[in-house]
């Protein structure tokens, strides 16, 4: 049985496409349009992967990641970042936070799904 994926993206059209692709791939998907809501939903039962944009209103992806890592039960929660920043500093920062993968927009869905699948294989 596949876990639930939380997709946090402020660009509505893009978030809609991502959710559709993931669901078509068989995943349970929840979605959030900003960081505050995303952080709240990440603690929901069954969420095993967070697909998160970096630039978010309210609470950006980096801060959200830090808060997740500070909570014991979510310290090992898998996170895949999506970002429109492609500078090395940003990629280095995200890797340092323990992200399982980072995708620079535009995102290739085959690669994204492959990455999600690798994360899902590791889950119990």
């Amino acid at each position: 049985m596949m876990g639930t994926i939380l997709c946090i993206e402020d660009e509505g059209e893009l978030r809609e496409d991502l959710v559709d692709e993931l669901r078509q791939a068989g995943y349970n998907v929840k979605e959030a349009a900003d960081g505050v809501a995303g952080l709240s939903m990440a603690t929901d039962e069954g969420v095993c992967l967070v697909l998160c944009d970096v630039r978010l209103p309210g609470l950006d992806g980096i801060e959200l990641m830090k808060r997740l890592r500070s909570k014991r039960d979510q310290s090992s929660l898998a996170v895949i970042f999506l970002t429109a920043f492609n500078d090395p500093e940003m990629l280095h920062t995200l890797a340092g936070l323990g992200a399982h993968d980072v995708f620079v927009k535009p995102v290739d869905y085959d690669e994204l799904l492959a990455s999600v699948a690798r994360v899902q294989v590791g889950f119990p």
Binding site: E11, F85, P106
Partner: protein
């Protein structure tokens, strides 16, 4: 290049203009200080010459004294020799006179004796009972009746002939008495005949004094006058000898008595050595001198006690006649002056020279010696005087001069010491007047070298030092001014650099944001395309149209962003780096020309025209503001751009009237996130605010009814632009 942070540089740190000198090895290491140099200079030019001159005078004085002393000694010695020569001559003359008289009387006695032997006996030759004939020969006188005693040796059988001779010789009794009594030095007068007869006055106990077989001819006082020893038949003097007649040590004046070439006998007059010594003792000789008599054979005849001490000899004591003297007894060899090393050379001269002078040494003391002949006797009189007594006056003078020399040396030493002390004190004062100010100036220079550039100088009485001190202080002031100017320049450069760095960072951030803004619509487009490719056969037409509409909106977002980027490129006339004017009005005019294309613009430029510190940045900020305005204003809307300046601040306002909603009348700050404000303010405003903030100014937005005004406050330079 490392930046220098203004205000953090330690005060004591060496200034860059002079710090290289501080790293050099001090050139004064191993060199003497001014104090030592001054003192050495004093020594060289004053103390040492004074010492040298003083010592020279002292040496000249000592040498002069010595030369004078030597001349005095030579002169006194010559005088002494003359005086001694005179004394020797006088004493010799006195003794010679006496000896000549005795010699003459001896000759008289000789002639009268000869005459007596030829003549007749006196009428009363004297009592015969005074004499007694010996059994085996000889004759002796039995008692003293004031007349001479007679003696015949037992060798002769006394008969009438002998008695007749005795009676004939009675005529010389008076002569003998006269000779004896005329001179106290004469101790006896006698006649010894060749037939062993002796007649002697004063009376002698011949029975005790003479051996009964006495041979008088073997004694020196006889044979010295015989034909062998005295071929001239003259009066002669004997060497000192022990008198057989019992009168001790004597010398004799003897003369032969010849009759028809037959030596009848010898007459003699004895003089005691002791009496001669007394005469020498009584002689008044200068410088406590003494005189001795020396025989032709070199034997000391007589000498005073003072000579005994000097020569280490004693006049032979009076002889004690315990038995008759039956042979010649002369003085020992120690009385021979030729046997004494000190007198050896002099003894040789005595035989060759009538008079002369010499110097001899006894017990380490030099004696001047003057000798002279004593008449025809063949004797020499030698007068001795100790040289130190002769030269006592010269030595006293020398001692006085020597003492004065020492006193002079002490006074000179004391004066030199005082002079050195005065020179030292003077050098100390000079050091105080010169070295201490120089040292203080050196310390001032050192402090300036360490960075404490503002120093004080209280002045000095020496003009050169005073000028030097003020020049050093003024140099410090000049260096301080230069340092302040350099620091001001550094701060200006640092501020400008800081602004450039911040501006670059903002521009980088802006670019990054723009890229982000582009990638999001690109992601939307790409997402739609991927979905259409993956599920195209399952997508309904309405969904396709919907996705196409999304793509167009995304493209429109990208186009809008690109258009903005084109507008905000800070380009000058060449299209690359900003090369525009630096004055405020020109910067505003250039920005308006680049941004406002279709709108009417009212320019109200500043009355003064200050210089803009970063015209490119200000132009970029103003362009963003104008882009914002042109993006929302109708083409016919009048845009008013006004500029003014007050002091170092300039104010640029952009105002316009609009009917579309511009959100936000709030002030923007440099810390405000573009993303957070993007829904309320345009990116133009964000970028403009960032740039103005970096330039040290601020950007305010004010809305009144339908009129919005953006006001920029930015620092400017009054006067010529900085290079």
């Amino acid at each position: 290049m490392k930046r220098r942070i203004p205000g953090t540089q330690p005060q004591a740190t060496a200034h860059p203009l002079i710090e290289s000198n501080l790293t050099d090895k001090p050139v004064s290491m191993g060199k003497e200080g001014l104090r030592q140099w001054i003192w050495k200079s004093y020594l060289r030019v004053a103390v040492l010459p004074v010492i040298a001159v003083s010592l020279s005078f002292l040496v000249i004085y000592i040498i002069g004294n010595h030369m004078v002393y030597r001349q005095n000694v030579d002169a006194i010695r010559q005088i002494a020799y003359r005086k001694l020569a005179y004394a020797a001559h006088q004493e010799g003359h006195i003794i010679s006179e006496r000896l000549q008289t005795i010699a003459a009387l001896t000759n008289v006695l000789s002639k009268r004796t000869g005459a007596a032997l030829d003549g007749k006996a006196p009428d009363s030759p004297g009592p015969r009972d005074r004499f007694r004939l010996g059994k085996d020969g000889g004759l002796v006188t039995l008692y003293d009746n004031g007349e001479p005693a007679s003696f015949y040796s037992r060798r002769v059988k006394v008969g009438d002939k002998q008695l007749k001779r005795m009676e004939n010789l009675a005529v010389i009794d008076l002569t003998m008495v006269l000779i004896k009594t005329s001179f106290e030095n004469v101790i006896s007068v006698y006649f010894n005949s060749s037939d062993y007869y002796t007649k002697i006055y004063p009376y002698v106990d011949v029975q005790k004094q003479f051996r009964d077989d006495e041979d008088v001819t073997k004694f020196n006082f006889y044979y010295r006058a015989d034909a062998n020893h005295n071929p001239a038949r003259k009066q002669v003097w004997t060497e000192p000898y022990l008198d057989p007649a019992g009168h001790g040590w004597i010398v004799s004046s003897i003369a032969p008595v010849w009759r028809e070439n037959k030596l009848e006998g010898v007459v003699g007059v004895d003089i005691s050595v002791g009496s001669l010594a007394q005469d020498l003792k009584d002689a008044d000789l200068p410088w406590e001198g003494f005189a001795i008599l020396v025989s032709p054979a070199g034997k000391i005849i007589a000498m005073p006690p003072r000579a005994e001490e000097t020569l280490g000899l004693r006049n032979l004591p009076p002889h004690r006649y315990t038995a008759p003297v039956d042979a010649n007894t002369f003085k020992p060899a120690s009385y021979d002056i030729s046997a004494r090393p000190q007198l050896n050379e002099l003894a040789a001269r005595l035989g060759n020279e009538a008079s002369g002078r010499s110097i001899v040494t006894f017990d380490g003391k030099r004696h001047l010696v003057q000798f002279d002949s004593v008449g025809e006797s063949g004797w020499k009189i030698l007068v001795f005087s100790r040289e130190d007594r002769v030269l006592s006056s010269a030595n006293a003078l020398q001692s006085t001069l020597h003492a004065r020399g020492i006193l002079l040396a002490l006074i000179l030493s004391a004066m030199i010491g005082v002079f050195i002390w005065i020179a030292f004190r003077s050098s100390q004062r000079m050091n105080t007047a010169l070295a201490e100010p120089v040292s203080a100036l050196s310390e001032t220079i050192r402090r300036i070298g360490e960075g404490a550039l503002l120093q004080t100088f209280s002045g000095n009485e020496i003009r050169e030092i005073d000028e030097l001190g003020h020049q050093i202080v003024q140099t410090g002031v000049s260096l301080n001014d230069a340092r302040l100017r350099i620091r001001a320049q550094e701060e200006i450069v640092a501020d400008a650099l800081d602004r450039e760095i911040r501006l670059n960072a903002e521009l980088k951030d802006f670019t990054r944001q723009m890229v982000h803004e582009i990638r999001n619509p690109l992601a939307i487009i790409d997402s739609s395309m991927q979905i259409m490719l993956r599920n195209g056969e399952n997508i309904e037409l309405g969904a396709i149209r919907n996705r196409a509409s999304r793509a167009r909106e995304a493209v429109a977002r990208i186009s809008e962003i690109v258009s903005r980027l084109a507008l905000i490129q800070p380009t000058g006339a060449s299209g690359n780096a900003y090369e525009g004017a630096t004055d405020l009005n020109k910067v505003i005019t250039d920005a308006c020309n680049r941004s406002v294309l279709a709108h009417p613009v009212e320019l109200k430029l500043s009355g003064s025209d200050p210089h803009v510190r970063n015209p490119a940045a200000l132009g970029l900020a103003l362009t963003n503001v104008l882009s914002l305005v042109t993006s929302v204003a109708n083409d016919s809307t009048l845009i008013t751009v006004a500029a003014s300046s007050a002091g170092t601040m300039a104010t640029i306002s952009v105002s316009f009237t609009h009917d579309v909603g511009l959100t936000g009348t709030e002030e923007l700050s440099s810390t405000t996130s573009y993303n957070d404000k993007r829904l309320s303010a345009e990116p133009y405003l964000f970028v403009a605010n960032k740039i103005i903030t970096v330039l040290g100014g601020n950007l305010k937005t004010e809305r009144q009814a339908e009129r919005t005004t953006y006001t920029i406050h930015v620092p400017v330079d009054v006067g010529e632009p900085e290079a």
